[in-house]
Amino acid sequence: MTVEWAGGPPGAKQAPSASAARPYGRGDGQHDTVLVVDDDTSILDTVSSILSGEGYDVVSAASGKEALEAVARKQPVVILLDMRMPVMDGWAVARALRSQGISVPIVVMTAADSAKRWADEVGAEGYLAKPFGLDELLTAVERFRGPGGRTN
């Protein structure tokens, strides 16, 4: 599987300004935070342990609601977002974030046949079609790593 990009950062929110010149990384030597959202705990645990092994700060959320709360607490550099979740699905999470003016890059994770279509539909920056391998996952996240994010 390869990671494809669904286009540049979406919308006017991406227009560079003095305060938001580098929205994705902290650039302060700290670890980059990645938010992983999936209601399947096995996937959540696996993805988390892979990414933490690569030096990311991983925040995991098992539902759409938890995901929004996590973003409110600390904005990640990228969100890995599962599409099919009960109550609040990935699509609703993406919409809620955009409507709040939060333009964190999103990488859609889905086991559906039409992963790319989903990514386009929610205006995501990329997608991971399940099942994905280790390298695909890392490549997908790598792009959003800040220059000083890697410490080891």
């Binding site: 209601d39 399947d40 096995s42 996937i43 645990d45 696996t46 993805v47 342990s49 892979i50 092994g53 099919r84 979740m85 009960p86 109550v87 086991a111 559906a112 046949d113 399940k130 099942p131 994905f132 391998g133 280790l134 390298d135 996952l137």
Partner: protein
Amino acid sequence: MNAFELISAVTQIIYVLIFISVALRLARQPTRAHADMTLFFGATAFVILVSRVAALTGSAPPWLTTVEVAVLMALPYMLLRLVDDFTHVRTALKRAAELGLAAGIVATSVTVPALPTPVMLYVVLYFFVVSISCAVAFFRSARRSRGVTRRRMEAISLGSILLGTDILIAGLTGLARPDDRAVLQALGQLLGLGSGIAYYLGFAPPPLLRRAWQEPELRAFLARAASLPRLPTTLDIVRDLEHGAASSTGTAARIGLWQDDTSKLRFWEEDDKTVDLEPGTHFAGRAFELQRPIFSTDPIRDNPDGAAAYRSRGIGAILAAPITAGERRLGVLTLSAQRPPIFAASDIELAGLLADQAAVILESRALIDDAARVRAREEATRLKDDFLSAAAHDLRTPLTTIVAQAELLERRAMREPTAPADIAGIRRVVREGKRLAGLVGDLLDATRLEQGGLVGEREPVDLAVLAQELCAHDAVETSSCRVEASAPVVGEYDRRRVEQLLQNLIENARKYSPERTPIRIRVWRQDGEARITVEDSGIGIPAADLPRIFERFSRASNVDDRRFHGMGLGLFICRGIVEEHGGRIWVESEVGKGSTFHVALPIADEGGSKR
């Protein structure tokens, strides 16, 4: 010529015209009813002719007067015969009329040419009474008929009343004072004209009037027709069409539909039993084969094969019309009545119109059915696509963990061969691998089930023991499982499948129940069946979902389907296992209180409880 003479002449012309019209009809269709009509109006024309001749010559020979009076007296009797042609006239009434007629003829021929007052009164009264009886009979018959036939009989009834009254007045004229005679004569002439017009409308109505009389019946029929093709089944449509045709024609109506598979016409009895008819046999089969209406006023003679049925149902006339839409022969409309309708031509016309309308309705129905079939095919394709998508989705989810986690384990092992094993990661792979195996098994079972080959070799199985084993094996600290069984319940089952059934039900109960709430299993014998219930106090199933709960990919709407992993195949497979064993499965449930799944399975033999 004064006004009286003009009216008289018009009346006489009308009667002669009717005579010519019915005589022509008799020539075309020699039926008893037409013969009786011709006789009646022939007699009238004769009386008219004689009176004209007498008026011209000034006097008539006495024998002619005798014949004239005899024929005049015979008129109401002939009317009675006409009544008898389409409705039953009591034999006593017929005999009385014949006796009265004979007595009248004898009395007049003896006293001719100067009829004494009592004889005159007798003749007039006889005429009046019989005419009015006929009028009443026609009127009652009209009440039972519909449409054109009804209007025509009403006209004839009116004509008979007017004619009877006319003769009564003519007789009284002779007895009246000279001053009153002119008035009575005028009245008599008007009544005569009225009866002539009424008879004309009844016996030979112009086509325009006939159509006008037909219209309300057809309109009523058409008003219902628009909604007919949407009725649930074709049989419902047939029933409604039969009802409509029966009430439009005042007869009993039956519709037979052509069956392509058997090449027969199928009729439905009142109790929905079917009767199949070969084309070419009976009236319906003949009308279907010849593709034209067939009319019989003597069905027993014309179709001896059906004689028994005609006798038992008292059918004296049958009309069969083909129901055909363009080239497509759809069936036959059959109308049957106890007496041959006196007005066959208009009834055949009406039956033809009704049959055409039925063809339109049945053809629309066929189109609706075709559209439904196409939709069903599309729906089946969609379901299959949905199934593949859902299956792919559900299989990819555990695969994601297995692939990614295994690669991570590999990478770690390569980078740090001496580091302690990542037990949590290994467990994840194992757990998701098992989950994947379960899903694949369910998918295979569901596919086998559709081919009807889920249950294999059977052996004696004690359900009570099996339930206890499963319960004990499944007991985990978070919930308790209790089996209530007082005696062995043994049947011939596929052990593996029955085990799977109970396992699925127990897992379901556990999955949808709060932790630490008990699951209760009961196993017992009842009414020659093995009975099992699995009861939980979980979230329950909304009533709206109950009918679909055993269907493929069905989950109750209150189940959040990510928390409860599975493909929605568990209960579908359970139902398959039970049904292939010849048993039943059902569920009782209340949201928030819990669910009880019931299973009934056949028991091996009557001894049942082998030890």
